[in-house]
């Protein structure tokens, strides 16, 4: 990786992107490289899981002299026990608990992704960061990054792979949790391409296996570009 996405770099950078895991981190960085033909200007940080993302945000809100000017969060709208209907709502409540004292959250989560500045005049020592939040896959549906990638496949590829994976599930060959269906479909599709043993989503993105990725991720990329100015360096 050209950019050092380490803890040290994360603490020092003024533009930080917090993500739930290494797979999402490298995939987003690769997506930016693919589309913009340049290195991202933000430092991405793998927070291990969704609570990790929220806790890293908390840390940056209470430290006396905030280092970051911009903090972006990518969270999956797939909280344990949530339903299709309330996943986004529950993420909003989690956010409100953390940032509600300093930021005015909109009543409805914006479908184009949230970008929000702190209320003025809250601090003497430093300014709180601008915060951006994207709820995978599209700020309204239950899901994760793989759901966005699924939309990046051609209709034929998507439908064919989905039907095979569903068949494997029906025939008890597949043991994955039902909530991970899109992960299973994306990884199955990756296993059918050359080379079939690509370990990471980011490699498949670089290889161009997701034919319509620029279109499918257009709103997401637009959010990244509006949040991090400039997006690349």
């Amino acid at each position: 990786m050209g950019t050092p996405h380490s803890l040290l770099a994360a603490h020092g950078s003024d533009s930080l992107l917090l993500v739930e895991g290494p797979s999402d981190l490298h995939a987003v960085v690769q997506l930016v490289r693919l589309v913009h033909k340049a290195e991202p200007a933000f430092v991405g940080f793998d927070c291990k899981n969704d609570d990790g993302v929220l806790d890293q945000l908390s840390l940056r809100l209470v430290q006396p002299e905030p280092t970051q000017k911009i903090v972006g969060l990518i969270l999956d709208a797939d909280i344990d026990g949530s339903t299709e209907k309330d996943a986004v709502q529950r993420r909003c409540e989690q956010l409100k608990n953390r940032i509600g004292a300093d930021y005015d959250l909109p009543e409805n989560f914006p479908e184009e992704g949230l970008i929000i500045d702190p209320r003025p005049g809250r601090r003497a020592l430093g300014t709180l960061p601008r915060i951006g939040v994207w709820l995978m896959p599209n700020n309204k549906a239950f899901g994760m990054f793989e759901d966005l990638l699924l939309e990046s496949l051609g209709d034929h590829e998507k439908n064919y792979t989905s039907s095979v994976v569903n068949q494997a599930k029906t025939d008890n060959v597949a043991t994955f949790h039902p909530s991970h269906l899109s992960k299973a479909v994306v990884r199955t599709y990756m296993a059918w391409q050359e080379p079939p043993d690509l370990p990471h989503l980011s490699f498949a993105i670089r290889k161009g296996h997701f034919q319509n990725i620029e279109t499918a991720c257009a709103v997401f990329l637009d959010w990244l570009g509006r949040l991090f100015i400039p997006l690349t360096r």
Binding site: D55, L59, A124
Partner: protein
């Protein structure tokens, strides 16, 4: 959380504690009711061997606090540690602040970090029992940590944490959400 709303008394425990005379007179006011026993309970958080406390006359009309310690007999309070003395003062201030406000300066003075958590638990309960609103200042990370844990565990919804920030001649009280402070402490971040 209204400030000074209907409060009849404001007690103040300075950073250096009360002087001997003030301590003795506060102890006297607790002669009736469960106050003295409650103060002793707090002191037992630091030293479980404490059985009782009495004042005796010293020189020049001064009065000396004597502890009855299991297995050791009577020992002057001042020859015990700073933590015990601090706890005695906090207990007295609390028990005599009923239906009022208690101001504690430099909460952590003399207190071992492990005791701070227990003390916040006790103060949380006592604040409800005695109907006291507590304002405490601290520079200690352990004190903040103990406060956050106690607030969470006891489900105290009306506890708040502010950081005072100075800019030229202005002082800002920055309201820090407990959930954020808890996460930051967990990640070894700075909150002070």
């Amino acid at each position: 959380m209204p400030l000074f709303d209907g409060a009849s008394t404001v007690s103040h425990l300075p950073a250096g504690g009360f002087d001997e005379q003030k301590t003795a007179s506060l102890w006297d006011t607790l002669i009736q009711g469960p106050g003295q026993e409650r103060v002793l309970d707090w002191m037992r958080m630091i030293d479980g061997r404490i059985e009782d406390l009495d004042y005796i006359a010293g020189r020049l009309r001064s009065r000396i606090a004597l502890l009855k310690v299991k297995g050791e007999g009577r020992i002057p309070l001042r020859s015990m540690g700073d933590g015990l003395r601090r706890m005695f003062h906090i207990g007295l201030a609390m028990a005599t602040a009923s239906k009022g406000i208690l101001l504690i300066d430099e909460f952590e003075n003399g207190l071992h970090w492990r005791v701070q958590r227990e003390l916040w638990d006790a103060l949380g309960k006592a604040a409800k029992d005695f109907d006291v609103q507590i304002f405490a200042t601290t520079h200690s990370r352990d004190c903040v940590s103990g406060f956050v844990s106690a607030s969470k565990e006891q489900d105290i919804t009306d506890s708040k944490l502010y950081r005072l920030e100075r800019q030229e001649n202005e002082i800002y009280a920055v309201d820090l959400a407990l959930i954020n402070v808890e996460a930051a402490l967990e990640l070894n971040g700075e909150v002070r």
